[in-house]
Symmetry: C2
Subunit: 588 residues, 2 copies
């Protein structure tokens, strides 16, 4: 059940598809490919040696609630201390608060390692990074100085407290109250599904909490954001007084047992307003774009881990006998190869899309003018629901294939394949379900700007398609496969813009298939970009020939086996809303 970071794949993706060196030169970071490879190498070792062996421990001996609060799985505390000491929380944070100012895309590539090695553990730093991001963007300088340095160092962790039992996807229904009291607020209410809401690995836990002020307007316009620490600080900034916030219970979940999912009770807990009153939802959206890309990345990571396990089994397990009496490893059977190639090629496409999307944040930060900055910000926002929605949906299929390749052994828990499937199952749900991602893509990210952002993306893909065609790329199925899928994407795009005007339920009925179509297409875009680079390198005699030839293989497989799925997505997008909405509820 070991894990090895696929550093060559990640490096190829960063260097050839993201064009990391050019990105760094145009931005504010001193990073370059050489540094990136060194960082990834260290991360890969830490993931493989320290975190991966604890993955099954977390599953079998999940977090527990005791009289002292939540106790993490055996070994997690020690691993966390090393993780923090090695500075892994500070990679993308600014130097002002002790960060290393590395590009977001590199931090993303590193985070892939943590989630592959131990997703339940990695949720803790993931939520911390999200909370830091939010404080860094929206809190006052005083709050930043108070809370950020120890979060960046990993001495304290952060959480996000959004959901309430009647307010899941519908944040308008949030009931938690925050009442002013001197220079702070008293926060009262109950939050559910709070990941790593409590633990004893650090001296403090910094909760970001959505709540309403007494005079707040109803609905989403009356939500504010607060910092509520587990311990309030003394004059020296050290945790001193236990705040009135407690974990009431832990959920008994299908997977990620190592990650405590808490019901949190705020009983007049001391809190501090982040930014302005009633702007909580706006602040949430910054936070959510990051968190959603992070969850999309988890979809990639868990699929990679499942692939490694299935691949090892397929090479090891023999079944049937050759004429010479030797036994045949099942990787030689066409249908097993097909499943492994589905995993491998999809994972490459997912990694391509995850890193291309993550790099847009760096491009926005490093942009020379407002127009370019806005362009890259919009691209980041456009790709976010696709990264979250498509990568996590794919992870369901791919981790399930991981089980399937194991045959009967896949159903036995000791094998480990089933854990990846169980762990992955949360990914299409938390940080906004697939349906919510799809509505975000169709509504806020596409219809709201009359399709302008998506059109720009389609135009870039068109340019890639033309370049591919003119490059005399030798495998025609790659050229036509991408062309066809792009045509389907344009067709869906045009259909959406027209239909949304006449059919109020069209967007909602078509959204998930629309999002999935663009997932397959965007993934394919990064695959053909990579394939063109690999082809050019092969022609020039550069690099590892076998590795580059494998890139051509996986791109071809993806174009022939995965891209045709755009057709069925398109058919659904075009079928309209009547078929979804017309049947009376009582006939279900």
């Amino acid at each position: 059940m070991s894990y090895i970071h696929p550093y060559k794949d990640t490096a190829f993706c960063l260097e050839q598809i993201v064009e990391f060196d050019a990105l760094c030169e145009s931005g504010e970071s001193d990073a370059n490919m050489e540094l990136a490879v060194a960082v990834l190498d260290e991360a890969g070792k830490f993931g493989a040696d320290i975190l991966a062996p604890l993955n099954k421990t977390g599953d079998l001996q999940g977090a527990k609630l005791s009289d002292y609060g939540v106790e993490a799985s055996p070994g997690f505390n020690e691993a966390y201390q090393q993780f923090a000491e090695n500075g892994w929380l500070s990679l993308a944070a600014t130097e002002d608060f002790g960060g290393q100012n590395m590009p977001n895309v590199l931090n993303t590539a590193v985070n892939e390692v943590w989630h592959s090695a131990n997703m339940a553990f990695a949720l803790c730093p993931m939520l911390s990074m999200g909370a830091m991001e939010s404080i860094a963007h929206h809190a006052s300088e005083e709050l930043q100085n108070t809370w950020l340095p120890k979060m960046v160092s990993g001495e304290w962790t952060g959480t996000m407290n959004l959901t309430e039992s009647d307010a899941g996807s519908d944040l308008a229904a949030i009931k938690t109250q925050a009442v002013p009291e001197g220079d702070h607020y008293l926060v009262t209410g109950q939050k559910i599904f709070i990941t790593w809401g409590d633990h004893q690995m650090t001296d403090n836990v910094v909760h970001l909490v959505l709540a309403r002020l007494p005079d707040a307007p109803a609905g989403v316009k009356g939500i504010s954001l607060f910092i509520v620490p587990k311990f309030t600080l003394d004059g020296a900034g050290e945790p001193a007084t236990r705040n009135a916030v407690n974990c009431l219970s832990l959920e008994h979940k299908l997977g990620i047992h190592g990650s405590p999912t808490c019901v949190m009770e705020f009983a007049g807990a001391e809190g501090y307003l982040v930014g302005e009153p009633n702007k909580g939802l706006v602040y949430m959206f910054t936070m959510m774009n990051h968190a959603r890309q992070a969850v999309g990345l988890q979809g990639l990571s868990i699929s990679e881990r499942a692939y490694q396990l299935a691949l090892a089994y397929a090479k090891d397990r023999v079944q049937g006998t050759r004429r010479d009496g030797s036994r045949i490893p099942i990787i030689e059977f066409p249908d097993v190869r097909r499943m492994l190639l589905m995993m491998k090629s999809s994972i490459e496409a997912m990694r391509g899309l995850a890193l291309v999307a993550a790099a847009e944040l760096d491009r926005a930060a490093g942009a020379s003018g407002e127009t370019q900055k806005a362009h890259h910000s919009k691209r980041f926002e456009l790709l976010t629901p696709i990264v979250k929605g498509w990568l996590t949906e794919m992870s369901q299929e791919l981790t399930s294939l991981g089980v399937q390749i194991h045959g009967g052994m896949g159903y036995i828990e000791e094998t480990g394949a089933a854990q990846h499937l169980r762990d992955a199952r949360i990914l299409t749900i938390y940080e906004g379900t697939t349906g919510i991602q799809a509505l975000d893509l169709v509504g806020r990210k596409t219809l709201m700007d009359q399709g302008a952002s998506l059109k720009l993306l389609l135009d870039e893909m068109q340019a890639t398609s033309e370049a591919l065609s003119q490059s005399a790329y030798p495998e025609n199925s790659v050229v036509t496969g991408f062309e066809q899928a792009l045509k389907d994407g344009m067709d869906a795009y045009q259909h959406l813009l027209v239909s949304a005007e006449n059919d109020k339920h069209h967007a909602g009925s078509a959204s998930t298939n629309f999002m999935m179509l663009f997932g397959y297409l965007c993934g394919g875009w990064t695959m053909v970009k990579g394939a063109m680079k690999a082809r050019a390198m092969l022609d020039a005699g550069d690099g590892d020939q076998d590795f580059l030839n494998a890139k051509l293989h996986t791109a071809r497989f993806y174009c022939e086996h995965m891209l045709p799925r755009t057709k069925s997505c398109l058919a659904v997008v075009k079928s309209g809303s009547d078929v979804v909405m017309a049947m009376p509820g009582e006939q279900f």
Copy 2:
């Protein structure tokens, strides 16, 4: 977590799509629709009242191995006694051994209830029925008289012992030995993954075991089939002496915890040869066709159960607020409706195909001449890998949708949705993986007769398509949707026949997508047949108008949302084997 048998759907399917009354008239059974509805009604009550409440018990308190052997989950023993007393094991057995001689298709419809209510429990009678079938077809009269009456009455249960640790899909590798000793054999070896291999619910357990005789040829031509009882019988035919067969351990599985999965040790156990020596594999194929249809049925059943749970949640759970202040149940959101309709329409198609296939066995039995008998037997055999492969693959997607509709609550074990997903995950694996089914369809069932059987099926579908077109069916998407899918099916069929000659890996590379294509298509065939009947009944003013209109809705949804998937399956079928086979193994 209650379960209600969807008797109206089953009755519609039996009456209108299977044409049950005509089937009974031409066959040997005295059954008719009136009797079928009465039987289904009783089964529905027993499933809902006795078995369904034990489904979660079985999950939480799975079977255990003690010093006395395997102990079933609490409540299972009492439920089994009632189940046997009510005669549910005897439904399809012949009257010679105390059976009720009901048609196979009715028994299949009844078995749907058991698997929906409690799949882990229902595996016990399912395996018994398979063993009975096998003994009834292949064992000597003496063995039949000895073993069958108490199996038919449910006083003893039966098991199937095929798999060994090095012989899963590859039965040629079986090592278990059977040595003649007087009038019987001594069986020695270890079998794994034996469902309900031991328990204390009955006085005896009758194992069917694949083993080799000392002089047997190597490979599959040297396998024989034996009856090996837990207790050998005394002169009066009563269990008397404990045989040398024991459960060594139970597997710790992802799901179906209520069903003990045993490692069985045969240590020179007394056994009796079934039929002729070295014919075990042939006998297995009879047994496997039945068992595979039964597992396909489990895919339908668990999807139905997951649908009922998700539907109840979607009607109950509110999210968001209307302008008048009232809350909105999530079933009104288009994307939730879409998911529910995917479940409902797919389940109807799956039920249609499962019952149409099951009825072919009755049509073969009741056929007037050898030609007709052979036609229906071949059809049954052709549909078997599709029923097993497609229904179980669909059950993965549908039980996962069941979780998704619950949002965050779906990931919490107490909700119950996750159990259905976990339970379903075995279905694409046991009784032959999806890959094995697909190879069976492509090889043994299609290429071996130069496509003759499949061509006959396609011709029948063509006739249905033409009838649909000529019926002036008002919804064009149904007419063209089925036409298009049928065209894809014919295209795949022709492509397979041609390619298999020139490309030795084509069948293996294309097989799963070929099988899935025919699954969607055959499911669609039963949907449009049902829709045409419903339309005619509506025109005639017959029947429940709302129910019949819902049939038109689900058929339309299936044609618009599910049938387009044949396109991506076809694209893969056409892409050939090079893309699957060419990449060197070390590049995975």
